[in-house]
């Protein structure tokens, strides 16, 4: 997928002005955020499970080579084939080869962010193989020619009227006058349409939530059941997964499952969690004859050896997106690549290079909600701050912000001068703003005051109040 992260500023301004998008994003807060909090509250062990989940992912990453070796050996033992791909182009080539070898014309797909990462659909289509997304949200955005705007709710930016328009445009054999006002009608139409595609597909491609080293199993988690139909009906099942998805044992899967759905949708468990181990066995009455696992690096090994390793713990639940005030305001597309929200602001610079996504680490108020809800406790604010330091040191980013930062650093290293100047500024602004309580315009701060008021200080700095022990 082509990255447009460098246009974050313009894209977020467009997102804020997009009425349809703002209407669609309103559904986010009342649903995922509230339900996650309720699910966490229902399980007294939730926080200790988060600690355990973090420890499991750390253990897997610390011994990634050994667990991957064991995983691959077990896949091969069960009759599957493992492909080791260092980048997107290699993974695309391997998958195209498998499809061609089977004479595939259509390929059904379960939801996979890694597939977006490597631009698989365009590659298959360019070579005459039709990819069909089967997750309802993915199907909708595929019809609209879009990319996902959320890790688990890819069409969260789309209103039902827009879904109806997309279906009318795509399903031209149906009565154009049919009613498509209700979500239930839309779902029924998609189910019927996709059922035919499931039955006709030659190859099924899914992602993986986990790769289990102990047994060589791949694990998918869905609510719709589309992943299972995708991987069971066709002649071949291809699993496409980042190498960081490996976990040691089945017990580790059980532990992480306890935090995954609760963090994602607030369910106790997602509806379908399926462990797949190898192809169809002797005597089996259904299931794929061939089972391939495509293991993708694509920048992950580099992250493993960097100070951003902790971001590889991510289990793609979406909780950090849902809680983020920035994501809530602009949605996922403005982030410009596959992964949006706080985790995307950490991952995109790591995968694409900071120069390609210079503004993303700035797209955060560092309020810390993302870390508060992360099921594997990724210190997202710290990692975002770290990217800001890297950007400053490497002279990446807007010149004006660099000048201001440098001036601030100079001042902050001179405590007496700092106190004098901030004390003056607080008194001056406090005096000037005492009637209105806020400023509609401030010199040098038009970037702030163009879209919101700047609250007037009370007249004294935090430092001086702290010194006089005015502690709360």
């Amino acid at each position: 997928m082509e990255a447009t992260c460098h246009r974050f500023g313009a894209a977020s301004a467009r997102a804020l002005a997009d009425e349809q998008l703002q209407q669609a994003l309103r559904h986010l807060r009342g649903n995922f955020v509230v339900r996650r909090a309720q699910a966490a509250a229902r399980l007294p062990e939730f926080d200790s499970l988060r600690d355990a989940a973090r420890a499991i992912k750390d253990e897997a990453l610390e011994h990634l080579d050994l667990y991957l070796e064991r995983f691959a050996a077990k896949v091969e033992e069960s009759g599957g084939i493992v492909h080791w791909c260092s980048d997107a182009a290699e993974a695309r080539a391997v998958i195209l080869d498998i499809c061609r070898g089977l004479g595939a014309r259509t390929v059904t797909k379960g939801k996979s962010m890694v597939s977006e990462e490597i631009g698989l659909n365009d590659h298959l289509a360019a070579h005459g193989i039709e990819p069909i997304e089967t997750d309802l949200g993915e199907y909708i955005i595929q019809l609209r020619g879009e990319t996902p705007s959320h890790l688990i709710a890819p069409a969260i930016h789309v209103t039902r009227a827009q879904v109806a328009d997309a279906f009318r445009a795509a399903h031209t054999d149906l009565d154009p006058a049919r009613s498509l006002d209700e979500p239930a009608t839309l779902l029924a139409e998609a189910r019927d349409r996709l059922r035919q595609r499931f039955l006709a597909a030659d190859v099924g491609i899914t992602g993986a939530n986990f790769l289990v080293a102990e047994t060589g199993s791949t694990v998918i988690v869905t609510n719709e059941g589309n992943g299972d139909l995708t991987q069971t009906l066709p002649k071949a099942h291809i699993v496409l997964a980042g190498i960081e998805k490996v976990v040691p044992t089945l017990e580790d899967v059980a532990t992480i499952l306890r935090v995954l759905a609760r963090s994602a949708t607030g369910q106790e468990m997602s509806v379908y969690t399926t462990l797949s181990t190898g192809p169809r066995r002797a005597g089996d009455r259904d299931g794929p004859a061939a089972f391939h696992v495509v293991l993708l690096d694509n920048g992950r090994v580099r992250m493993l050896g960097s100070e951003f390793r902790e971001a590889l713990r991510c289990i793609r639940c979406g909780a950090c997106l849902n809680g983020c005030p920035v994501y809530q305001a602009i949605g996922g597309h403005a982030y410009g690549w596959v992964y949006g929200g706080p985790i995307g602001a950490v991952l995109s610079p790591a995968f694409l290079g900071l120069a390609a996504a210079p503004d993303l680490p700035q797209a955060s108020s560092l309020c810390g909600r993302c870390e508060d809800v992360c099921p594997v406790r990724i210190p997202l604010p710290r990692l975002l701050r770290r990217w800001r330091e890297v950007a400053f040191a490497a002279r990446i980013g807007a010149g004006r912000s660099r000048v201001v930062t440098r001036a601030w650093v100079w001042l902050a290293r001179r405590p007496r001068l700092y106190r004098l100047l901030t004390g003056l500024a607080a008194r001056l602004l406090g005096f000037a703003g005492r009637r209105e309580g806020a400023f509609r315009f401030l010199p040098f701060a038009s970037g702030w005051t163009a879209t919101r008021d700047f609250p007037a200080p009370e007249g004294r700095t935090f430092h001086s109040r702290w010194q006089q022990r005015e502690r709360p």
Binding site: L43, S86, A254, T274, D297, L304
Partner: protein, 229 residues
Amino acid sequence: MTGARETMLAEIRRALGRESSGPAATAVASRLAAHPAGPVPARARGTRVELLDRFGLMVEASAASIAKIASPTEVPRAVAAFLARHNLPAALRLAPDPALTSLPWAGTPTLSISSGPARPDDVVALTPAFAGVAETGTLVMVSDPATPTLLNFLPDTHIVLMRGHQVVGSFEEVLARLRDRYGEGTLPRTVGFITGPSRSGDIEQILQMGAHGPRRLHVLLLDDEAPQA
């Protein structure tokens, strides 16, 4: 392919700053062999009666339904009653498992019965479970010649026969039973954890049932643990 594999593994080791063998390999091997459990929620513990009750409540919380029966011979009537109550077609596809096909189906002549793997037009399936999890109301299904996978996904209505002794408290207990049956480090082709009927919230976050899998999920819980009268 070996080249690509060795290259990636070497790069990973370089990133981690460590050799392939030595204490790390021993530690990993023993962790895999010991497969230690994480924190198991307290709700997964209890007496048999408590666990069966919790299983029933959690099944219902997942938007599935559950009915208790006292003997396998009641299965045909319970299935017929469920289908009639919901005004569903009386055409039943059975998993090709003798435990199901040998039931007294002749007693319910209104049901049309067939058995085998799922066909695209099958509307109701009855399949046996491997285990049930009280913690979440999850049904555990394994694939083998007698239990083809697609019966759990293609038909619009899925009915599952669960025996009381198959219900355990936690996922870890299910894993222990899987290892007992299939051996350490080995699984059947698919192990499916099913928690409720298929659903999607992808259109405006409004929950809709029956996305691609079954719209209805019904559990027949066979009480095979009560003392015989």
